[in-house]
């Protein structure tokens, strides 16, 4: 339902963070009912631009911005996000903005709760109205149904798997009837492909009803599928603009990074893998929303072992359980010897390392500099970057070595930052992810668990990260267990892929099998039993 009415007009917006220029001069228009795709490399300034439109306080606190923008022809002056909400802008942030201790319903309707009158209202005013729980639940269910997902309105956010949290955020924006312009900052990054499809369908429906949408994503096929028009941001300017029909992922990707990009090719391993390194027997993990109910598998030394499956089925629980972050039981053998579970320190000592899917919660020290983030785990677990005095009695941080290590990874993974002393919080989402990877590499692990390693990472960086993993695997022979929602990613790098369904392994397939075989395993439609391996 695209019309010619201009909802948003952005004129020459520029922004720097104390001299670090992020946006130079950005101008574009969004029409009513139009879906705009905004893409660009990590740190290109997409989130920053959206934060400006949404009136977030970070922008003012860091010196404001230049240029103007107009909503329905009127110049916008937002002193806070409340003004933006009033003006009809809704935003789903790249990082969750939910109250963890509250249910889905309460989060969806926060500040817009249904209320009932009671006698006190007459005396003391509206603030004393009762919550109308029944009606709230109805509205929440309504919003959830629009998304067409299986989300329990009574579930506490803290206990939800990430995918469900994301749907809660989106449902919140849908419930607002006044929203005219919806900003979606990487809403699909935490979703599996099938969930992302659901989300895209919902967004299309909203656009048909006349809502304008700005959609940010690093998955280019999604962008082309959903959006009417695509804008590419690079070095603070819009460098490319096209109707979706007239372009393709490759063209967009190349204008994003300003160079040509090669497809990631899966190469067959030259030599056969021999020794068993890790044996998992009947592992149970009590990770809320990702419960593991008895999985069995064996990983060979030097292998890249993929774990896939739909969100909430338990694929994420496996790594978290083995690393001791959630209570688990069962038997895990490393080099033939049983290792004690629920003991992170011990596991790290043995040469395990882990990149968590929850980068802000588990993966990062947001208020500490990059170099600390990268080296801390290696320092604590392996006593690297330490100088010892008095025969090891006194152990001190070796700041020089720490700096050197950090610079090495900043260069290797092309982490975009002002210096190694920048706080992790001030990095763009994708660059935070790279810091998490660097942290795992710095452990020089023998076996590396990575969960969702390319979540929120742009195409160029994705190539970089997958290549880095592969190179690490080939050169240092480390074994990698990669958990991902993106099947294509798993197929491009793994030697074998296990699909998890309902807390159990539904089957283990080589990557050369057709995608439909994997799909059937994911939805539990295939009759290969837990141990079964199709060759």
């Amino acid at each position: 339902m695209e019309s010619n009415e201009v909802v948003l007009k952005v004129e020459n917006i520029g922004k720097d963070f104390f001299g670090n220029v992020v946006l130079k001069s950005v101008s574009f228009e969004v029409k009513k009912g139009e879906v705009i795709g905004l893409v660009g490399e990590n740190g290109a300034g997409k989130s920053t631009l959206m934060n400006i439109l949404f009136g977030l306080p970070v922008i003012n606190e860091t010196g404001g911005f230049s240029g103007n923008f107009f909503l329905n022809g009127e110049k916008a002056h937002f002193s806070s996000s409340f003004d933006a909400l009033d003006a009809g802008i809704g935003m789903v942030h790249q990082e969750f903005v939910l109250l963890p201790g509250f249910t889905a319903t309460e989060n969806i309707l926060l500040n817009r709760e249904s209320v009932k009158d009671n006698f006190a209202v007459n005396i003391f005013g509206d603030r004393l109205k009762h919550l109308d729980r029944e009606d709230m639940k109805k509205r929440a269910v309504n919003a959830i149904n629009k998304l067409d997902v299986n989300l329990d309105p009574e579930m506490i956010v803290a206990e939800m798997p990430v995918g469900h949290r994301q749907f809660t955020e989106i449902a919140r924006e849908i419930d607002r009837s006044s929203t005219k312009l919806l900003i979606l900052d990487e809403p699909t990054a935490v979703l599996t492909e099938s969930e992302a499809e659901i989300m895209i369908k919902a967004a299309k429906k909203l656009a048909e009803e006349g809502m304008s949408i700005i959609f940010i994503s690093h998955r280019l096929h999604e962008v082309l599928d959903l959006c009417d028009r695509v804008l590419v941001l690079r070095d603070g300017n819009l460098v490319f603009e096209s109707e979706s029909e007239n372009t393709n992922p490759r063209e967009i990707a190349e204008s994003m990074v300003g160079r040509s990009i090669s497809d990631f090719e899966h190469t067959e391993r030259k030599k056969e893998l021999q020794k068993d390194l890790l044996e998992v027997k009947d592992l149970w993990v009590a990770m809320p929303g990702e419960v593991v109910k008895g999985v069995n598998f064996t990983v060979k030394k030097g292998e890249i072992f993929g774990i896939g499956g739909l969100a909430g089925q338990g694929k994420l629980g496996i790594a978290n359980g083995i690393m001791g972050l959630f209570p688990s039981r069962g038997k895990v053998l490393f080099k033939g010897e049983e290792i004690p579970l629920n003991n992170t320190k011990n596991i790290l000592d043995l040469g395990f390392s882990f990149v968590s899917e929850d980068r802000r919660g588990v993966g990062l020290l947001l208020d500490e500099p990059i170099d600390w983030n990268i080296t801390f785990t290696a320092m604590q677990a392996h006593e690297r970057f330490i100088v010892k005095y008095l025969g090891g009695l006194l152990k001190f941080r070796n700041d020089k070595e720490i700096r050197k290590e950090a610079l090495k990874y900043i260069d290797m993974l092309q982490i975009k930052c002002t210096s190694e002393k920048q706080f992790a919080r001030a990095l763009s989402g994708g660059n935070q992810q790279k810091v998490c990877l660097a942290k795992a590499f710095a452990l020089n692990p023998e076996i590396l668990f990575v969960s969702e390693p390319t979540r929120g990472i742009d195409v160029g960086a994705k190539e970089l990260v997958l290549n880095a993993l592969k190179k690490y695997n080939e050169e240092s022979g480390i074994t990698i267990i990669i958990t991902s929602s993106e099947l294509e990613e798993l197929r491009s790098i793994s030697d074998r892929i296990a699909i998890v369904n309902e807390g159990k392994i539904a089957g283990i397939l080589p990557p050369s099998k057709p995608a439909t075989d994997f799909g059937l395993l994911m939805i539990g439609e295939s009759n290969i039993n837990g141990e079964g391996e199709i060759k």
Partner: protein, 347 residues
């Protein structure tokens, strides 16, 4: 250019700039209302040296994520036990002071362990619980000061009574042992060199500690406990250690305070010691979750500066003695101001 000015202001923080300017204006007004600038500066310097260590003692707990130590009384009481024991033994001078420290440390460790274990069970509500702990301990000690078998006539109620007095003079024992060390006078200003040196030494020790492996782990624990424990750090142990260290420094801090002030104050006095220390730290730019040694130094200086200057200047203007009232208004006013102006930790 404009940016770099804004940036440096942001870095120092508006509250500190405003209060710093206010303090400077007090010094400008002082001579006109008949307050001697030399004496004032001496006062500020002396007060700075005897309060600094107490403020410093808050640092480890803030860093490990236990928040502002509203239970500072616990450490203080360990220090008091050391002080009275040292006087009972009767050794004077610097050695007596060292004995006081030596005796107080085991108490601080013991109390710290109990307090730390308690705080580990109430994660998220540390500051509320700490306040209660502070109050309870002071009440309990009110009884103990009467019952403990101290005999020195310099400390017990007159004419052979039992129980310790509310204020005990250290005049005969270790009054100004730190402050007078290498002290000198220049242009009417008394500089308590030894006090500065001791405070600097304590800061140095804390600074070095936070460069150690354990200190780094402690900081990370406060920054993100989940991250720390996924890196193999025992989060509860780190918090416990931070509480113990805080208690030890607080015990030393109160002894430094007493040698400067001249009296050991028992019974209800410790109750009122936590607030000013916390106010100074906040004023210095710390928050509930983050603090640095620079915050300690700047905060103590500004807080003690205002606390010394405002009453004497105002007294001389209105020509009547209201110093205590003004002091209370100013110090509590500053707590409120620091708390409201504090840049909230973005979540």
């Amino acid at each position: 250019m404009k940016n770099s000015i804004i940036e440096s202001i942001e870095k120092i923080g508006w509250p500190r700039i405003i209060i710093g300017l206010f303090l400077a204006s007090m010094f400008v007004i002082a001579p006109f209302v008949g307050v001697s600038v030399g004496t004032s500066i001496s006062d500020v310097l002396v007060r700075f040296t005897f309060n600094g260590v107490l403020v410093l003692s808050l640092l480890p707990m803030v860093k490990s994520g236990c928040g502002l130590n509203f239970g500072l009384q616990l450490g203080i009481i360990s220090g008091l036990l050391g002080a009275v024991t040292s006087i009972e033994i009767g050794i004077t001078g610097f050695l007596g002071f060292l004995i006081a420290i030596g005796v107080s440390i085991p108490f601080a460790i013991l109390f710290g362990i109990i307090y730390g274990l308690l705080l580990n069970r109430v994660k998220g509500d540390e500051m509320v619980v700490a306040t209660y702990v502070g109050f309870s301990v002071v009440s309990f000690m009110n009884m103990m000061w009467l019952l403990l078998p101290y005999k020195s006539p310099d400390m017990i109620w007159g004419y052979g009574g039992t129980g310790l007095r509310t204020t005990i003079s250290v005049e005969k024992y270790w009054f100004h042992v730190l402050n007078d060390f290498l002290s000198f006078e220049i242009g009417g200003v008394y500089v308590p060199t030894g006090g500065f040196l001791f405070f600097a030494l304590m800061c140095l020790i804390v600074w070095i500690f936070f460069k150690s492996k354990t200190g780094t782990a402690m900081t990370a624990t406060g920054s993100n406990p989940v991250y720390a424990s996924s890196s193999g750090v025992n989060v509860n142990k780190m918090r416990l250690v931070s509480v113990i260290i805080s208690s030890i420094i607080a015990a030393i801090g109160i002894l430094v305070y007493e040698q400067g002030f001249g009296f050991i104050q028992l019974y209800m006095a410790p109750l009122y010691m936590a607030f000013p220390a916390i106010a100074a730290l906040l004023l210095g730019g710390a928050s509930v979750g983050k603090a640095t040694i620079a915050n300690v130094i700047i905060g103590t200086f500004l807080f003690q500066g205002i606390l010394t200057m405002t009453p004497s200047v105002i007294n001389n203007i209105i020509k009547s003695d209201m110093s205590e009232t003004i002091r209370i208004i100013v110090s509590n006013g500053m707590i409120v101001y620091a708390l409201t102006r504090r840049k909230k930790a973005r979540g």
